[in-house]
Point group: C2
Chain length 401, copies 2
Amino acid sequence: MQNFIFHNPVKIYFGQGQATNITEEARRAGGAILMVYGGGSIKRNGAYNDVMKALQEAGNEVIELAGVTPNPRLDITLQGVKLVKEHDVKLILAVGGGSVIDCAKFIALGAGIGEDEDLWDDYIETGKQAPEDLVPLGVVLTTAATGSEMGDAAVLTHWERKRKLGYTSHPLTPRFSVLDPTYLTTLSREQTIYGFADMFCHTCEQYFSLPSDDNLSDEMAEAIMRHILRSWRACLAQPTDYTARSNAMWDSTLALNRIISRGKDEDWATHGIEHAISAKYDIPHGAGLAVVHPHWMKYVVEASPEATARFARWATNVWGVDATGKSDLVRAKEGIERYSDFLARVGAPRTLEEAGVHPDDAMFDAMADHVGDDARGSYKKIDRAAAREILVDCQTPVSFE
Amino acid sequence: MQNFIFHNPVKIYFGQGQATNITEEARRAGGAILMVYGGGSIKRNGAYNDVMKALQEAGNEVIELAGVTPNPRLDITLQGVKLVKEHDVKLILAVGGGSVIDCAKFIALGAGIGEDEDLWDDYIETGKQAPEDLVPLGVVLTTAATGSEMGDAAVLTHWERKRKLGYTSHPLTPRFSVLDPTYLTTLSREQTIYGFADMFCHTCEQYFSLPSDDNLSDEMAEAIMRHILRSWRACLAQPTDYTARSNAMWDSTLALNRIISRGKDEDWATHGIEHAISAKYDIPHGAGLAVVHPHWMKYVVEASPEATARFARWATNVWGVDATGKSDLVRAKEGIERYSDFLARVGAPRTLEEAGVHPDDAMFDAMADHVGDDARGSYKKIDRAAAREILVDCQTPVSFE
């Protein structure tokens, strides 16, 4: 196991009715609150009313910033930064899914950097670490997907430049997150599927990382993946079932609070490729991952005996592939095919076309450029050329025939 | 899943050489440091030197309190409280295993309560919650067992009254913990075994808790248990192997940082019974657990079809018991027997006698009184009478013959 630091101080309030705790958190903040949200779904799922009631009880000034989109963008983030400064905001409250949370994280960062610094050029493009004393962030989660509610990472899009970049720094970690599964019961089938595709991919990206020693992180990652698959089926079968939705919500949080990447180098190559797609086409992140992920697997599975063995273990322990009398490679390929078949069965896209994306050669080049040659990847480095090859392969479903 | 709060802000520094981070932590504390340790093993395993070097670099005043025993006691805790007050201590640094950490937690608590309050009578006996602003606690861990390094619980013995009590309150949570697996390589075979018995039991006590819904906590608990069994064998086979010891150290921390009890009522009945034994006989906690735990299982396994089903699941998923054509009860009993056999094979005690304890009727009564009628237990409440029955049964190894 490699040396690591683990420090995840987010206070999680989990369960029905937990938004009432916002009153105490708002009092602790002791000043104006910037409430960040998206397109109005929080007014249908009950979150908006619950939060407003708790805030009225506390009595803080509340400024609202609505309209954060999926694949959140720099422009609305900068509006938020301006509001934080104008109103001397003491708590940023993100009410929504991963996009809203990520936007709120960047608002906190943008308000905390020097007057002469540029949020995009000096931090997001360079990865320069955030200052320690950002305006604290609270979350009321209304999707089960990104894990941003219990993590230090966020993703932002610079739409004019067609760039979508991840950024990780400990001060972006929320102070608290309210996880009330009842807010998930109004999610559409598509949102549900994309959320599961995202959390499953998160778990895999940490699992398919070096070293391949017998680390507890891997055993726990397999547990989370099996559980995600059960929750996935349960939520599609019974979208309003509280138990199914509560399992989904906790699955997504555990999939990316870094507990399963301890002692390992994290890969994230699939996310790098997906960001290239949604930077250009603005498709849902989970849809892009569903397309790319099995194709990345196909590209990597034979990179080394160690890689093949890891995919074989995954095939058996996550997908239940019978190991009897089979080589690692046969098992590994069977696992990848089961994954692809499962995505088709639940209605997730498996090709660029199914995701509504039809790139020409120039666009394949542009997406490959977005991935670049600063290659990520454990078992196999994914540089510009590799990314292009994978993206071209994404025009048909994964097959080993 | 039941509603829950999860808030575990401990900063973990994991891996070889991580004690160097103590310099920065000491500077942050900015004042006198009380260093608490046991009988001198830290001078053999390298921890003492590493810590002293880091502290000299920082330059804080350091006061040493040595001599904390296994099953730590109130008297030395009160000595520590006096030192904290005399020297205006700004950081308590526990260098050792669970006993040293727990003693340090109670020193922090004792120094933080009102002058007119009594640590034992007003807090430990009553469970009254600790004040928020205790002197912060740092840990340098030298065993893999209790999980106290990443938790809010601690256990103390009032030897004159022959009482051993657990106490849980969030302000007892350490600020940081250094987990360097190299310190484990000098542990004796007995210490290694008792540590594993402890962490395995911790995982079980949370797993055998209600509700039995399909909670991710249970799937992760099974992962941890399987991994503990692998690490157990590996550490006994190769006591100086870094990978084996690093797995053991992280296993023990994950077994009791509350991540696997979320959404569940925690049972802890076996711990209640074991505390009664070591309160009277001062045996190692892990030895007592190895004796009691399978006997508790035998007592509970037929409490309800739900309980039996849970034990059957455990037997298959943790011990690999083949489920084909077997009733839940048959599988469950087979699992418990495998557990007992495993303990015998690694050399853990399975009976009171093997643990060096020979109670007469009066002592069985006294131990049952210690458990009392404020019954704990999920599938089956363990009151005074139940505890006595289990303890009497602990005179012979578990058997279903």
